[in-house]
Subunit: 186 residues, 2 copies
Amino acid sequence: MVRILAVEDGGFKSKFFWSKRKGKTFLVCVLADDFKIEKIFLSYVTVDGLDATMCLSKIIRKIRDKLDVIMLASIAYAGFNLVDPEKILNQFKVPILIVNPKKPDDKAVEFALKKHFKDWMERLSIVRKAGKPSPLKVNEKIVYVYCFGLKVEEAEKLVKHLTVFGVRPEPLRVANLIAHGLGMVN
Amino acid sequence: MVRILAVEDGGFKSKFFWSKRKGKTFLVCVLADDFKIEKIFLSYVTVDGLDATMCLSKIIRKIRDKLDVIMLASIAYAGFNLVDPEKILNQFKVPILIVNPKKPDDKAVEFALKKHFKDWMERLSIVRKAGKPSPLKVNEKIVYVYCFGLKVEEAEKLVKHLTVFGVRPEPLRVANLIAHGLGMVN
């Protein structure tokens, strides 16, 4: 049995209008034992802020039992609010696994950071820590993983074990559905 | 495979201070095929209002494929905001099953309605439509079910099939976890 914390973010308006990108969105965390959802944590994170690492730390601190792995959908949450996987790994000694069904475009990220952020160097250094992703074949499709504190072989075993529908491991898929539901609330 | 819509509500402050009960809380709906979560819908409902039936109707209308059953945790959402199961059944021709791990206390409900609501007769008539619950033994515990448009035997089969952990069928358990997470957001 693997104890996972899967992290997704909610959407926000004006995604493609840089001058209007502001406010908060949700950070959705699903705590699961394999396929059993144990608990849902929600927090607010600032669109294009730099508080995602702190928000995630706060949530992890609430979890009493030892986590086996933290699963991220990306390094960037709420726009370019970057989660620093190294910081989380050092602080909690829990491996971090980023599972992204899309191939990250590092050049586009660098371009956007330089264009829109005064503190682009700080942000880019977090992106660069992640290095190059490893492609994995899951359910006949490719996902891109970044591993911190675990080997690619371990990541592959984990992702294959937990992916049932589509290309997202179940806890991430459910976190994604909740995040999407939150975006649609009316 | 059973297609279920499971409905829970979020908490609200001042639950035990009647004069301060106001505002909105969440209605959380989990659409599931057996154990596979397909989609999450969220809506706001008024604490002690009477808009829960309408809010639920709006969500059901968004679901394209035929539902097999709508699973409620109670008739009363967001305080005494009552979902009228007969109305939903007549409108959508989908059976409604209420699964409550606690034995409902009809006398206490009637007392509270008469004491705090001018429109208590309207509310009480919805409560009375539900009639008496049938006790079912699930995982060595008793749950109380109310059936609209399906037989108790069918309800028993369904509840036993879908209950894996504790006394709540999985979609209701997950809806409950999301509602709880929404209540804890900070």
